[in-house]
């Protein structure tokens, strides 16, 4: 039974949204509005969809500031500088494949492929890389049982990724998907979704890629679209939009797996994370609970170690944001930060050494890479990322990291982070509301959220999954584009849930099934009060800037 209420039954005003801040660290645009805009774009109008040129802008401004400082010494020849800028911009966006090189290499590759096919050694290679895993294919019962499939293919119908099973064995399925999508596309229309029994199949065309989700989880079309967009962005973060386009302009039937080798892990981990972490659902980031004085010291330490061209300095512990310092003009999109968090979650190789990784943040600039120095500080769970536009700045970033590390050690900040990670999130009991079982709270002005740890009765993973799908259900009801709601009270067989959206926050709270509306409303007001009291510990409110 679902009931909507009048919002005036709840007294809290939006301006008091706990955890709000005037200067957000993250882009706060609503992801559903973004999605609507995105989907309303025609296939040919992909330009406005992709953020581009920011990196070039930073490189350019650096050029100008260098010019400014040289002004006293010599007359400045601006046209030449502009040319230099172009040169450097081209450099920044220079991708691992030269134009000529690509065609050459891929032709060689095709030959090899043919050779291998002829000698029948393809199967051998496949067996070698995955010896222990039993290959699932479209006919196997286990494959059919998976709740959510995700497929990625090229417009030519070549398989790129499948969440379950080996893409090679799903070639026929990929062919069917390609046929369906291009059939509708021929009529200048686009296929969005198909309902088949208990499955919702969602199609997203992001030329030159096709992405498909087939799900029996009860998620809405929008929610699945958002997830496909994340998968697409994950591919962009590896290749950049520019490179992806160029490859397929040159060879329509290119096998993209060749360039993506080694990244299946990140796609898999992202797909799993989206099924369990509410940050994707909320398009928000979770802050690590930390005393605000400690957080300020950390922020200042990171700020004071600033080096040239450093765009973002991010400190993450256990998938939660400790703090973030950004160049004055540029702020990070939470969806980009999610990709970074996924990168750290999915790879253990960062823990053992300092790494230097080119990363494209699609919402920041999909045309080029930010070069990222990634290191875990002193074997603690705190991972520092320093992102710059300068490909050659490893050494500068290494020095910057040393400085930050020394300061953090001096002020005992790493110990504080370690403690907080060990303690985990607060329990629901700490909030002190007896009817309350769990909640998610997102502050819209900071794109950050907070939630208690999974306590009883949700200590069992299966129960957590059920609760998460309840959140997804309430979320999709209040975000229904045809009939958006402000408040929803839902009574299910295991629990009742309240979803409440204002211009300042989103709150989802879960109670025992016998809780009445009135009690629930009293309780959410208490939650808001509690969050207000704790906001400095739970949210990053005063992020420093460079």
């Amino acid at each position: 039974m679902a009931t909507s209420l009048h919002s005036n039954q709840i007294s809290a005003g939006q301006e008091h949204a706990p955890g709000g801040s005037q200067n957000p660290v993250l882009v706060t645009k609503d992801s559903y509005e973004e999605l609507e805009e995105d989907l309303s774009l025609d296939v040919d109008q992909s330009r406005p969809r992709h953020a581009s040129g920011v990196i070039a802008e930073i490189v350019e401004s650096r050029q100008h500031s260098e010019v400014d400082s040289n002004q006293n010494n010599a007359a400045v020849d601006y046209p030449a500088t502009d040319q230099q800028v172009k040169g450097i911009t081209a450099d920044t966006n220079h991708l691992s494949l030269g134009d000529g090189q690509l065609t050459d290499e891929s032709e060689v590759f095709v030959e090899e492929e043919e050779q291998r096919l002829r000698s029948g050694s393809v199967l051998q290679t496949v067996e070698k890389t995955k010896p222990a895993v039993v290959e699932e294919d479209i006919h196997s019962a286990a494959w059919k049982k998976h709740k959510k499939h995700i497929f990625i293919l090229s417009e030519a119908g070549k398989p790129i990724y499948s969440r379950y099973g080996n893409e090679d064995k799903l070639v026929t399925l990929m062919g069917v998907i390609q046929a369906l999508m291009s059939f509708v596309q021929d009529d200048k229309d686009s296929l969005r979704s198909v309902v088949a029994g208990g499955h919702l199949i969602v199609f997203l065309l992001r030329q030159p890629l096709m992405l498909v989700a087939a799900s029996s989880t009860g998620e809405s079309q929008q929610q699945l679209f958002l997830q496909l967009r994340y998968m697409y962005n994950q591919i962009l973060s590896v290749l950049t939009h520019t490179q992806l386009n160029r490859i397929f302009e040159q060879r329509r039937n290119y096998d993209l797996r060749r360039l993506l080798s080694g990244t299946e892990r990140f796609l898999n981990s992202l797909a799993d994370l989206m099924d369990s972490d509410p940050c994707f659902l909320l398009t928000a980031v979770r802050g690590l609970p930390l005393d605000n004085t400690v957080r300020d010291v950390i922020g200042q330490s990171m700020q004071s170690a600033k080096v040239k061209d450093l765009v973002f300095a991010i400190l993450i512990a256990d998938g939660q944001l400790v703090t973030l310092v950004h160049m004055k003009k540029y702020i990070l999109h939470p969806a980009d930060l999610h990709l970074v968090i996924n990168l750290l979650k999915a790879s253990t190789s960062f823990e053992t050494s300092d790494s230097w990784v080119p990363l494209c943040l699609p919402n920041f600039d999909s045309s080029g890479y930010l070069y990222s120095h990634i290191s875990y500080l002193d074997d603690s769970p705190a991972c520092l990322l320093l992102m710059t536009v300068d490909q050659m700045a490893f050494k500068e970033m290494e020095n910057c990291k040393q400085k930050i590390l020394e300061k953090l050690k001096k002020h005992n900040c790493l110990a504080a982070i370690k403690d907080s990670v060990k303690r985990g999130s607060y329990t629901c009991q700490e909030v002190g509301i007896s009817e309350l079982r769990h909640f998610l709270y997102k502050n819209k002005s900071t794109a950050q959220f907070t939630a208690p740890s999974w306590g009883a009765p949700y200590s069992d993973p299966a129960e957590q999954e059920r609760l998460f799908s309840l959140y997804r259900f309430v979320h999709q009801k209040v975000h229904n584009p045809a009939r958006p709601l402000k408040i929803l009270f839902y009574v299910g067989s295991h629990e009742s849930a309240l979803g409440w959206i204002t211009s300042g926050f989103e709150l989802y709270a879960v109670f025992s099934p016998l809780t009445t509306k009135q009690v629930a409303i009293l309780a959410v007001n208490k939650i808001l009060k509690w969050i207000k009291k704790e906001e400095e510990r739970l949210f990053i409110l005063n992020p420093p800037e460079y």
Binding site: S96, S349, F350, D354, S355, P358, F394
Partner: protein, 215 residues
């Protein structure tokens, strides 16, 4: 914090407080999956990363100090990702490298055939006096071997670089590869004009162990 040791080299302290005489940059390159990271972990920690394949993302950076006849040489080792998409990043750092360890997998013909391309990349991007060494890794897997030692030796000879076979799993020749590089670099640095020239080729030939055929 600097002192002078017997060889007349200024001794400095690394961040972790260890003493060393000079530092040099060694880079591990080669196709994806040939065992660059495993070789490095074997050398650094004496362990073998078995089980699942962990591919390096971008470039990883580790330090190890080795002792070459009383001189402490700090090797700053860059472990690179073998995938093509990281080439532009790795190329950019070739020029900084004092030594390059070029790896292929003796059980993967393709990785061996790519060595020529790697060598030409080295000529294009690296310093002229860079120390290069060719390593045939995974030589413990005798039954799956598909690159003959003679072939690899010939290729190395044609390119005037030393060759040896290594196994990150058994540890065969792993330390030697790094120590030989360190020795070569140390000799280059401290050699006086009249000293006999150190040949890393000869040194490697004398020291290397040949993997046993029986398994």
């Amino acid at each position: 914090m600097a002192g002078t040791n017997i060889n007349g080299v200024v001794r400095s302290t690394s961040v972790t407080g260890e003493f060393y005489d000079f530092a040099c940059k060694v880079m591990l390159i080669g196709d994806s999956g040939v065992g660059k990271t495993c070789l490095l972990v074997r050398f650094k920690d004496g362990a073998f990363l078995s089980g699942s394949f962990i591919s390096t993302v971008g470039i990883d950076f580790r330090n190890k100090i080795v002792d070459v006849e009383g001189t402490k040489v700090k090797l700053q080792i860059w472990d690179t990702a073998g995938q093509e998409r990281f080439r532009s990043v790795t190329h950019a750092y070739y020029r900084d490298a004092h030594a390059l360890l070029l790896l292929f997998d003796v059980t993967n013909r393709h990785s061996f055939e790519n060595i020529r391309a790697w060598v030409s990349e080295i000529h294009e991007y690296a310093k002229d006096d860079v120390v290069v060494m060719l390593l045939g890794n995974k030589c413990d897997m005798t039954s799956e071997r598909c690159v003959k030692r003679e072939e690899a030796e010939k290729l190395a000879k044609d390119n005037k670089i030393p060759y040896m076979e290594t196994s990150a799993k058994s540890g065969l020749n792993v330390d030697l590869a790094f120590v030989a590089v360190a020795k070569d670099l140390q000799m280059k640095k401290t050699r006086r004009p009249n000293d006999p020239k150190f040949s890393v080729l000869e040194y490697v030939d004398q020291q290397k162990q040949v993997p046993s055929k029986c398994c």
